[in-house]
C-alpha cells in the first residue's frame, strides 16, 4: 500500500529525508515517530506529491506518488493538524462540500461519526476547538472509506476522551485501510499501532513491528567484579560505565549469555523490558550523541 525506495528530499542545504526505505503491510497501523524536524511531515507530503523528491521514489495505493491522479486521491485520506479547513463554513456545509469530491462518500458512515464525535453541525468551523476540528477533518476523511489513511500529529492538543474516540475510529477502520500515522504521542501509539518506525534527522533508524521492537530492546545494568574497558558493540546504545557499574540499552537483545561473553567477571545482570516511550527516548539520545 505504501512503499518508499531510497526516498530523499533536501530543502536547500538541509537534508530533510535521506534514502528512506519503508514498506507498509496492508491493513497495518504504522506509526512514524521522531523528534521535531525529523522529516515525518515531509515524508507524508512526498507521498501525496506535494513536493518533488530529490532522489528515490514512493508509492501509495499502488501508484507512483508523482503520478497520482484525482481518481487515485479519492482512495487516500489525509488528516493533519496543520491543515487549513474552510473557516467560514458550517460543519454541515463543510461535509456537503467535501462529499462532492468523493463518489464513494457514505452518508451512513458520516452519520455514525457525527454521533460518535458529537459534532455540532450548525457551528462554524472557525468556532470549533482544536480537538473538534480534528474530529471534523477525520469524519470528513473516514466518510469515504479511504484505502490509505495518512495522519499527521492527529492527537496534538486533544484531551484524553477525544483521543480515545479518535483512536477507536481509526482502529475500527484499520481492517479495510492502511494507516500511516506521524506522531510524538508514543503512549497512545503503543496502545494500538501494529508497526513502528523511527526517523531522526531524515534517516530511518528503525522500522518493524512493535512486538519485534519491544522484544529486541532491553535496558541492561551490569555489575562487574572489577572495572574493565571493552569494545562496545554498535547495538548497545547510550553505554555508560562508572567504576564497576555499567548501563546501556541493547537494541538487539539476545539473552544474558551474550552480554556475559563481552565482560570478564560479571557479578550481576539486571535486564528490563522497555515501554515504547523509553525506547524512543533512548533512540533520540543516541541520535543526539552521534
Amino acid at each position: 500500500m505504501i512503499r518508499t525506495f531510497d526516498l530523499t528530499k533536501r530543502f536547500g542545504k538541509t537534508m530533510a529525508l535521506d534514502r528512506v526505505n519503508l514498506d507498509l503491510p496492508a491493513n497495518s497501523i504504522f506509526a512514524l515517530a521522531g523528534p521535531n524536524g525529523a522529516g515525518k511531515s515531509t515524508l507524508l507530503h512526498l507521498l501525496l506529491n506535494h513536493f518533488r523528491s530529490d532522489g528515490g521514489q514512493s508509492e501509495i495505493a499502488g501508484v507512483d506518488s508523482r503520478k497520482l491522479s484525482p481518481k487515485d486521491l479519492q482512495k487516500i485520506g489525509y488528516v493533519a493538524e496543520s491543515r487549513h479547513l474552510p473557516e467560514w463554513m458550517q460543519v454541515a456545509e463543510f461535509f456537503r462540500y467535501t462529499s462532492q469530491f468523493y463518489p464513494n462518500w457514505q452518508p451512513d458512515q458520516l452519520r455514525d461519526l457525527i454521533g460518535l464525535f458529537r459534532l455540532p453541525m450548525e457551528a462554524k468551523v472557525s468556532s470549533l476547538s482544536r480537538g473538534k476540528r480534528m474530529q471534523v477533518a477525520l469524519a470528513a476523511t473516514l466518510a469515504y472509506r479511504p484505502q490509505v489513511l495518512l495522519l499527521d500529529e492527529p492527537f496534538q492538543g486533544l484531551d484524553v476522551l477525544v483521543r480515545d474516540q479518535v483512536i477507536e475510529s481509526i482502529v475500527e477502520r484499520s481492517a479495510e485501510s492502511t494507516v500511516l500515522l506521524a506522531s510524538h504521542d508514543l503512549a497512545e501509539i503503543e496502545s494500538f499501532a501494529t508497526h513502528f518506525s523511527y526517523l531522526s534527522e531524515g534517516r530511518l533508524k528503525f522500522s518493524g513491528d512493535i512486538c519485534q521492537l519491544q522484544s529486541e530492546f532491553r535496558e541492561v545494568e551490569v555489575v562487574l567484579r572489577e572495572a574493565v574497558e571493552i569494545e562496545v558493540p554498535g547495538h548497545w546504545m547510550n553505554y555508560s560505565i562508572q567504576g564497576e557499574y555499567v548501563r546501556f540499552t541493547d537494541s538487539k537483545y539476545a539473552g544474558t549469555d551474550a552480554i556475559r561473553e563481552r565482560f570478564q567477571g560479571v557479578a550481576d545482570i539486571t535486564v528490563r523490558n522497555l515501554p515504547l516511550r523509553a525506547i524512543f527516548v533512548e533512540m533520540a539520545r543516541e541520535g543526539q550523541k552521534s
Partner: protein, 210 residues
C-alpha cells in the same frame, strides 16, 4: 470539480461581489451622466475603490485555496491545481469581467451609442481589465498570504507602473506599459507560487511543510 469550487467561492463571497457590482453600477451611472472628468469627485474615488475591491475579492478566493500551499484544504482533495486556478478564473469572469462588460455596454447605450458597433473596443477593455487587474491580482494574492499585504503589493505595483509611465521616454502607451508591468507580476507569481505540487520550488515551503 471546477464548478464545485466556483460555487463554494460564490457562496462565500456573494456580498463582496454584490458590493463591487454596486460600485460598478454607480460608476457607470456617473460616467453616463457627466460631461467632463473631475478629479477627487465621487467618480474618481469609485474608480480607485473598484479595482481594489476586485483585488480584495480575488485575494479572499485565492487565499482559501492558494495553489502553492500544501496546507490548504484543496491540496489533499482529489483535484488538480489547474482546476483550482480555472475555478478562480471563472470566479473572476463572473464577479469582474461579466459585470464590467455589461457596465461598459450600458454606458455606451446611455450615451445613445449602439454597443454592438463597439464590440471590438469593448472586448479590448475586457482584456485590459484581465491583464491589469485580474491576472496580476491572482499572481499577487498567490505570492502574499495576507490579504492586506496583497492589496498593498497591488497598490505598489500600480504606483510603480504609474511612475514608470511618467518617467519613461519609451513611447509606450499607458495601457501597453501597464500590460507589461502586469505580465512581469504574473510571471513572478507563476514562477514562485502558481507552479504547485510536484513542480513547487523547495525554498517556498519550509522543511516542516509550513
Amino acid at each position: 470539480m471546477i464548478l464545485t469550487i466556483w460555487k463554494k467561492d460564490l457562496k462565500r463571497l456573494w456580498w463582496g461581489i454584490l458590493l463591487t457590482t454596486g460600485f460598478l453600477v454607480r460608476l457607470a451611472f456617473l460616467d453616463a451622466m457627466r460631461k467632463e472628468s473631475m478629479p477627487w469627485t465621487e467618480e474618481a474615488w469609485l474608480s480607485l475603490l473598484l479595482p481594489l475591491s476586485w483585488i480584495a475579492i480575488l485575494g479572499m478566493a485565492i487565499h482559501e485555496d492558494t495553489p502553492g500551499n500544501s496546507r490548504a484544504y484543496w491540496a489533499s482533495l482529489p483535484v488538480r491545481w489547474q482546476s483550482v486556478v480555472a475555478a478562480k478564473l471563472l470566479l473572476a469572469v463572473t464577479a469582474i469581467l461579466v459585470p464590467y462588460g455589461i457596465a461598459t455596454g450600458l454606458i455606451l447605450q446611455w450615451h445613445g451609442l449602439d454597443w454592438t458597433s463597439y464590440a471590438v473596443e469593448l472586448a479590448m477593455k475586457q482584456l485590459h481589465v484581465l491583464a491589469i487587474v485580474v491576472l496580476p491580482g491572482i499572481a499577487i494574492a498567490s505570492l502574499f498570504r495576507n490579504l492586506s499585504q496583497a492589496i498593498l503589493a497591488f497598490l505598489a505595483a500600480a504606483v510603480f507602473a504609474g511612475i514608470s509611465l511618467e518617467g519613461s521616454g519609451l513611447g509606450l502607451t499607458k495601457d501597453g506599459l501597464l500590460l507589461v508591468a502586469s505580465m512581469i507580476w504574473l510571471g513572478l507569481g507563476g514562477r514562485l507560487r502558481l507552479k504547485v505540487g510536484s513542480k513547487l520550488p523547495g525554498g517556498i515551503i519550509k522543511p516542516d511543510g509550513r
